[in-house]
Symmetry: D3
Subunit: 300 residues, 6 copies
């Protein structure tokens, strides 16, 4: 007799899968994988990181005189691999909501090219984030320490790439890229969030930033801050309405201390300071301070 | 002279180890490893994930026509490897608290077979969790995105396996499986917790669910929610009493928003809604709403 | 035509890098990598863990009779690799703030030797942490489960090594070692923090402990506890003053429940108990209890 | 200045490549790899070996009860990977000598299916080779030792697969498969050679068997035997004529000792024995013995 | 329809395997692998090489001050792994020819210990081989070049280990170890051959040395030399008789040039010189020279 | 008691090593590895192969539009790694035969640069070898098949690199590079041999070409051909004299069939044809044919 009745269990699992596919109206026909791959994305993002910061995140034996060759080679590999994943998402998306007149290959190429063109600007923005962290944290000893060590920077590298993918109509790839950083840092930024230059997240664990949040320049936030929605408006059939602006607008130079929760389409005016653990569901004027009874701007 | 006095330091470390073993009444006799291995468990769980969701978490080149072969082969490898780890835990456990009349190998086989038989039901429950996430998050675009990206799903795959191991008298293996997910998601569910179908954790970082918690069907919780104990009853010698029910009961259809803390053996009645950041140490009746002064059901 | 205009994008990235280097007064001369490597440190820490706990964290096929050889070999590899990283940090640090009369190689050797000499004491401290976790958590079934599974122990292994590096004037290496644990556990302990024997962090996700915190013996804290600073004193030019004691002092036998926030250079006296989610910015006397209106010592 | 003038050397290599492509009338257009991959083939052959001999060449942890699942899964992976390589060869071949009316994908599928259908017969032939080695070598202690250790068996596994590929019009894949064995064994069998059941090559290093050789059943040969051609007939333009039968016919039960050289389209009749180091360019009748003055049938 | 009819082919392969097992009287019962593993042996031999020559074949970062720790650790790992393989061979051998009164585990331990005790002597013999190569080849520039580069040395490292295994009654492990070197060097030495100190094989490809060959000290041979048998004496049933001495005896200080073939139990007396390509089936007296008409002692 | 007396065996091995070092006048002081590494060289040669033939031996996903970046990046990595190995050989060589006035680093750089400058010419020569194989073998279907499959080409890639290293005074590196090919192909070409364009070795196993051989253009040889020395002239102390020309000169357009042995400083004149298995120790005039009684130009 078999040790584990593998055949029986495999058959039972087959049955569950069939039920699932039937319930989801999925094809039962033979065929290959149709979904993008988390592992493939992880590798692509690693290659893009190396191309963006070759002497700091690239291979140990890289020398400055060969930087440009290295960058070009990594870009080439990363972009072609990305093109494959983009094609998978577009095909997947089309299968589940067919559109007419679309040439999938051309669309995928256009989107990937557009991401490629954005890379210099993304590097520029990330440089501003590094500087912001350096100036914002008294414990930071240098810009390189920030790039190498700070989870907030890792989260922003992923976000700035993911946001571009999101803008290009690739929400699934964008989400995978975001979750890769979430898993490593505990910082959960939806790829839809718009974030200006010089953004600094300190410590970071537990930060949640929602899909329609809009964040200006030189904003600083700490661990466990939530920029969330305040309930979901429902449509006539009782389903949550999608795409409505429902997260906060945070203007330039705002600081939000640890554990604060800002909910709904409220605006924190330029230079506002939100104390630790406070709960905000109304607009805060420019320069305003919101605190609990005791001072809360402390940080580790 | 030696660069680092390796011999001296190795000797000093030897001394510390001997002290530890003596203090712990551990054998100093030669012998091999007696503990299960975190790495081995990680590999086993990965194989089970592939067997449970072959076309989405399996290898990139898998095709639907060969799914069943793949599933059977993965199961076979995973279950035999698991049998080895189960044997290690049982032997370890017996050494530290010997029992009479036990045939270790037979026990290990019975436990592993039982886990194997549970897999189809576990897949069914996980399908319900995926659907719950899809329906519960307006940002979710499809069930496959949920399975691939959502940390809450990853945590539940681990939990549903870990809980079965826990039920089978394998608390150490169960704990390792749970902590593997905790490390990746920031979601800390004790393997003892009982959780019904259709459970959805959004964002997830900072969630803590205790050992004796009982959660019904279609419950939804957000990041940083704690389902904890309210102090530990002590026995006559002042030690915490083990095994007493000390965590909340959460009935069907409850929603708990981010940062809420529910402590002690209280019951949240069916359909109750607990607002963000609130602190609950009393029962909440079915359909009840607990909030702070301001509305708190907002989420990112 | 090229698919992606790799050459153009590489050129644009070159320009951004040049601007950055100019703004940072970095050399544009050819040369190799000057920064320590996160991957190298990760490997070194793994080797030190194996040398510290050979039968539990070492290779599966290790036997007790060969422990000492194994430990010596791992130490040798780890310490020589560490010497290389120490040299990189010292050289990097000297380049950015030159000192006179320093013999870099000799300094690096001295520092690495000193770390090596500390290892037995570090093991002893970690044994006390393991015991503290075992006695502090009613769910813990044995000391080995604690060492294998508890994220708080992983964080402390990293911290005790990182703190020693910090003391030896190697803040960058120290920070990398800390962040490796932060990424895996969600526990963020600055390497500068001084922590006594028998320290136990339960669950852990979201814990933040600041640079100048001082923690006594047998202290126990839970998830999402912050030991932070309450604003940064500025110098005459408006820059944050560095190095000032600005985080709490926590005396022996203190317990701090989940979500509590302690800010500033306050002292929690011996045996004090701080309830969940409370906010403390004043001293607490020995034996004092700080809670909100409702009891808050509950834990999962 | 650059250490190595990489740019200059890369440019010079570019020039050489361009000259080569021009001389070979190759396209200079951008495009991907058009050739099959040696590494891919090596992996495919390894998978087929595992599928053919699962309990002896398969993974260490395979158990007999799961053999069929394993075999099916390996076959599936190997055959789909092979389909990709077959497509590459057919496309490559078509580009260099276009044919009309050919549907490449269909051809590739047909060829791969045909190889797949041959596998049981190939296994049967290889079993006969193993038995022949076992009976032919007094040093062989068992059939499993033969399969695991004998280079002649390794060469025949590759040859029987390569020959099938050759028959299916895939000479490049066939050649790569043959050369993989040649590199490991020093046995060089052209994939075109026809070889009957029960073929045994002892020691093997230096054996060369030509493209049009025809070998019967139960033939035994030793190291450094050559079954070669005796000059190449030229066509009217002085080029060697291809495809003419130009290598020996070796009938059933022939034995050829080490270092013998048989050249041209001669026939060694059934049961003939060819002594060591002799040189044969004429037919040998059935049962004939060809030796030098001294006896040469000795073998190590 | 399935692309490849995997199920059908897997079934056909199942049938062939069943026929083979039936013909070989093999068990069809479920069970695991019973054969030693070529990969496992390859790893063990690599570890033993490192233990034998730590500063030349060991890891790049090894330093002399830690040699002994390294050697001990490698030995420990290699010997325990070897013990496992020895057990597999003994069990396999017992299953196919059962013996009474044997305690398999004890036998395996005794054999492995004996191999372990031989290692210093094996190293001493290999040192003599290295010196012989250095003195015997005008192109050799140093002893380290010889150890690193000469295939003859690689073959002798394998042979001296394999011969010991052969003496210990482990012919299958011995054969695998020999074939690993054969595959890399084209030198085929049967593990049974007895070879004295200071043995040097130059170039080596095509060398074959038979099971009962006996070679004295300071013997030198070149590529393609065969020390073979001259036919196999048959027993009364016509099967080759095993174990009879049937290969040459080569006394001290003999030189045999490339391509020479020595067959049968003949003796080459001390200091004899055998010219290239000659064929010898008679004894050669001490100091004798055997050449063809033209001088043949030339070598590349 | 210990299972294997590791400590005793390690001690005995220590003693043997000490004896060896004493006998070899080696330092017993602590220190690191001083020898170049076979593995490092293997990787360097692989990278150079990719740089020389990017679209055929480079990575599967390379595209022609990025060839130059790829080539530059691979060159950079390979050359810097090679510089390290060159430094090791020069330092090793200097320690064993000190020279005055040498700046090791500068020497190493000069040598590596010189190798780098040779690469385009080496590629050009290898192209001529590929064409020679294509035209010389009726079985060859295309130049790409030749590059991918023919062991003779692999041997020549290694030889042309090794010969350059030999010319640059790096005999140890050169030898390692040669032996890497010898191990894979059974073709043993001494790095000192001078070989003209368009050289073709068919089958190859067993070919040996000596250090001072000089080979013209468009020469073709087959398996088991030896171009060797005919004894070594001794100096006044009876040691072989080094560096004397002692191997054959083979002029343009010569063909040498399988198994032929050419010994000593003889000259094979332009266009000469040497038959299979013949033994030549005298000059052969231009256009001459040397055969045995029967025709020997046959080939597989």
């Amino acid at each position: 007799m078999s040790t584990f009745d593998i055949a029986g269990i495999a058959q039972a699992l087959h049955t569950v899968r069939s039920e699932w596919r039937e319930a989801q109206n999925r094809s039962q026909e033979p065929g290959g994988r149709e979904l993008p791959s988390r592992d493939a994305l992880a590798k692509i993002v690693d290659q893009l990181k190396e191309a963006l910061f070759p002497m700091r995140l690239g291979p140990l034996d890289l020398r400055q005189e060969s930087e440009d060759f290295f960058v070009a080679h990594r870009l080439d590999a990363a972009l072609h691999a990305l093109l494959g994943q983009v094609t998978l998402e577009l095909r997947y998306s089309q299968r589940h909501s067919p559109r007419t007149g679309s040439d999938l290959q051309a669309q995928a190429l256009t989107a990937t090219r557009s991401l490629a063109q954005s890379l210099p600007e993304i590097r520029r923005l990330l440089d501003s984030d590094v500087l912001a962290a350096y100036h914002g944290d008294p414990a930071a000893r240098g810009v390189d320490e920030v790039l190498l060590c700070y989870p907030g920077i890792l989260a922003m590298i992923h976000h700035r790439l993911a946001h571009r993918l999101y803008q290009l109509g690739l929400p699934l790839l964008a989400r995978i890229v975001s979750e890769l950083a979430h898993g490593q840092t505990g910082i959960d930024i939806h790829p839809g969030a718009q974030i200006g230059a010089g953004f600094f997240i300190d410590h970071g664990t537990g930060v949640v930033i929602g899909e329609t949040a809009v964040i200006g320049q030189n904003v600083r936030i700490y661990q466990a801050v939530t920029l969330g929605a305040k309930g979901f408006p429902k449509d006539s059939q009782g389903n949550p309405q999608k795409g409505l602006p429902r997260h906060p607008i945070v203007e330039n130079d705002v600081v939000i201390y640890a554990g604060a929760t800002i909910l709904g389409r409220v605006t924190l005016g330029q230079g506002a300071v939100i104390g630790g653990n406070v709960w905000v569901t109304h607009d805060v004027p420019a320069g305003g301070h919101v605190t609990q009874a005791i001072s809360r701007e402390g940080q580790a």
